[in-house]
């Protein structure tokens, strides 16, 4: 058995590692995607007051602390059986839309975009945001920096701090916003709509206008027919903050929707001996292995799955793009995983439109932003859509509100099975008998999981001084015959 190791994966949160095993003929026999699991978070939380969770959980992850803050706040609401007033819900969603705006912008311009703007074969030193700026123009860089600044500013106005918000508590928020702040946020939202449309146009010009990229997106290599999940509102429109989780089969049929409190009826976790991380799957369908199809419980949770799981978008310009998206890609649902990049930009536009809509709401400056909890705390589940997948927080407490049990299913974990499948398929397509493994080939394998915007155990980084991509190719006897590395 020959072995190729990609370790660690560049531009991926957490220290991931891909092992590729070749057979005697030099074809890919199997692949294993492994990540180190952070240990002991549940134990760390037990014994603490549940109201600490919105602050504590946003330290789990350096990439989406706002998502953990929101899921924790909603779970704490449920634990205390308190329904926050409409203004509190709207302010939380407004903050969350600002976060999405920053996060999706960053992914497109710094992570996913370089693969297309610079091309999968571009030298790694150029396949980054600097390369994008040099190629597309300085103006782009300025807009990206401005977009990030604006999104952070909305989070700071409502959440009290940039990046790590601190204002959500059981029953609502500790503060509201005034008219001046409302106007500022609304202006940011209007700027954001222009920026998102500009980004969609850029994608259209560079990616959709390039037959080679279109072939790559539409081809079989990056396609998996699995279930799609995503939060939807009462009208089955995409919503990042609230609603029920819609579950849609590979053929497009909605098999149901579940409320946060029902998640254990729908989601179960499969264990494999080669990794500590579990593989969530749809309980009602069952685990049939790492396979596509309606009989396999494998699902994905990404911007694309959210579009697939919904009937439409709750904003007019995003809806136009939604319709164009499905018309171009052959109707719903779309299974080509590289289309996640396009879906992400449609969500970017939706986030900006949502910012304007919520900031224009007459209730948004109301002082009624908190309902004091009066019931005994017991148990609760909170679900939001993190940019990289459905995020579930489940807490149990004693009658004093002290945590006795904690369970989290984080965004990327949902995608562990489909990411593993995508890596294997890409590896099998690009590494065949006798082929020389090139940098571009490896990048095409990395593109398979980069589309999912994965994030494993984010805030764990320390400084090793270097984070190389090392690929070691072993012959049938296990001897290294070629080592490729980049820094």
């Amino acid at each position: 058995m020959q072995r190729i190791s990609i370790d660690p994966i560049t531009r991926l949160e957490g220290h991931g590692k891909i092992e590729i095993f070749l057979n005697e003929e030099g074809d890919v026999a199997n692949t294993y995607f492994q990540i180190p699991e952070l240990r002991g978070f549940e134990r760390f939380c037990v014994g603490r007051p549940v109201e600490e969770m919105p602050l504590l959980t946003n330290r789990i992850c350096g990439v989406c602390p706002e998502a953990h803050h929101m899921a924790a706040a909603k779970a704490a609401d449920a634990v205390y059986h308190v329904d926050p007033p409409p203004t509190a819900k709207k302010l939380r969603e407004l903050l969350y839309s600002g976060f999405y705006f920053t996060d999706h912008t960053t992914h497109f311009y710094a992570l996913g975009g370089p693969d297309f703007v610079m091309g999968p074969d571009a030298p790694v030193a150029e396949r980054n945001i600097l390369g994008v700026i040099h190629k597309v123009g300085l103006e782009i860089g300025g807009k990206v920096i401005q977009a990030r600044k604006y999104g952070h500013h909305i989070v700071e106005i409502i959440g009290g701090r940039k990046v790590h918000p601190c204002t959500s508590i059981p029953g609502g928020l500790t503060k509201g916003i005034n008219e001046e702040q409302r106007q500022e946020i609304e202006q940011i939202g209007r700027w954001g709509i222009d920026f998102a449309q500009f980004s969609l146009q850029l994608f259209s010009d560079i990616v959709l206008g390039n037959q080679g990229y279109l072939d790559l997106i539409l081809g079989d290599i990056y396609t998996h027919k699995t279930y799609s999940i995503g939060l939807v509102d009462e009208n089955n429109k995409v919503n990042f903050y609230d609603g029920k989780v819609s579950v849609v089969a590979p053929d497009g049929e909605r098999i149901g929707k579940y409320a946060p409190s029902e998640y254990t009826d729908w989601i179960a976790e499969h264990v494999e001996p080669w990794t500590y991380l579990k593989f969530p799957y749809l309980k009602k369908v069952g685990w049939k292995g790492f396979v596509d199809g309606k009989d396999s419980g494998v699902y994905f949770a990404t911007p694309l799955s959210r579009l697939n799981a919904a009937d439409s978008m709750a904003a007019p310009l995003a809806q136009e793009q939604y319709e164009k998206f499905y018309a171009t890609l052959g109707g719903k649902p779309v299974h080509q995983r590289l289309a996640i990049h396009w879906a992400r930009l449609i969500e970017l536009l939706y986030a900006a439109e949502r910012i304007v809509e919520l900031a224009s709401d007459p209730e948004i400056t109301s002082d009624n932003f908190h309902t004091v909890p009066t019931e005994k705390p017991t148990e609760g589940v909170g679900i939001v859509e993190a940019p990289r997948g459905t995020l579930t927080h489940h807490y149990k407490t004693d009658e004093r509100g002290i945590l006795t049990e904690v369970n989290l299913i984080v965004g990327t974990t949902n995608n562990y099975a489909p990411i593993s499948m995508s890596i294997k398929k890409a590896a099998q397509s690009f590494i065949t008998k006798g082929s020389v493994v090139t940098e571009g080939m490896l990048n095409r394998i990395e593109m398979a999981f980069r589309a999912y915007d994965p994030c494993f155990g984010c805030a764990t980084h320390s400084l090793p001084g270097q984070m190389p991509l090392i690929v070691t190719i072993h012959d049938a006897n296990g001897n290294p015959i070629e080592i490729l590395q980049r820094y």
Binding site: R11, R59, N128, I129, L130, R148, S462, G465, M467
Partner: protein
């Protein structure tokens, strides 16, 4: 308490003068040894505040601000805007040195920016982010020094540091002060 040489002052009463040096403790305060950057930065801040105020002249040119962050890449670069110099304190896992080893090096000597807290892999490396910032006309520090402490327990949730890291705090804190002093001498 560590005795600091040189003319250094706390940030108390900074007034309208913008701090020129930013000291950042980087890491995750609830993930074992990954919280060392925060602990060292907090201890350093306490040490600064306990010192006698320096002369007004020194105060103006050496004002120091201390912050604790869990950021990387573009976000970290954005935080550095407006300062002349910066020191970043972080955990290191070179596996070449025993736990607790303190190493100081300029950011440009870090062989890969795709690494560590400075390079949140979700966006880009700090070096790349700084290039982006400079390209956009941002005012970024001319000197960025890293103070790294070799760590080994980074995957277990805990607010406590392991004994070798705990023991290294005074040395790391002193290293931060020495870097600041070298900058005074050059000013």
């Amino acid at each position: 308490m560590t005795e600091y040489p040189g003319e250094w002052s706390s940030l108390v009463q900074a007034g309208s003068i913008h701090p020129q040096v930013l000291v950042i403790g980087l890491g995750n305060p609830i993930l074992g040894d990954d919280g060392l950057g925060w602990r060292i930065a907090e201890q350093f801040r306490t040490g600064l505040q306990e010192r006698q105020p320096a002369s007004q002249e020194n105060l103006a040119r050496t004002l120091v601000e201390v912050d604790c962050l869990s950021l990387g890449g573009l976000s970290l670069m954005e935080r550095l805007i407006g300062y002349q110099r910066a020191i970043i304190i972080d955990a290191a896992t070179t596996q070449e040195n025993p736990p607790g080893t303190v190493t100081c090096l300029p950011l440009q000597d870090l062989t890969s920016g795709e690494a560590g807290h400075t390079g949140s892999a979700h966006d880009t490396s700090l070096q790349t982010a700084i290039e982006v910032g400079r390209l956009m006309g941002a005012s970024l520090p001319k000197d960025i020094m890293l103070v790294l402490v070799e760590a080994e327990t980074l995957f277990d949730f805990s607010e406590a540091l392991t004994p070798p890291i705990e023991a290294a705090i005074p040395e790391a804190e002193h290293a931060v002060m020495q870097i600041l002093d070298s900058w005074i001498d050059r000013t």
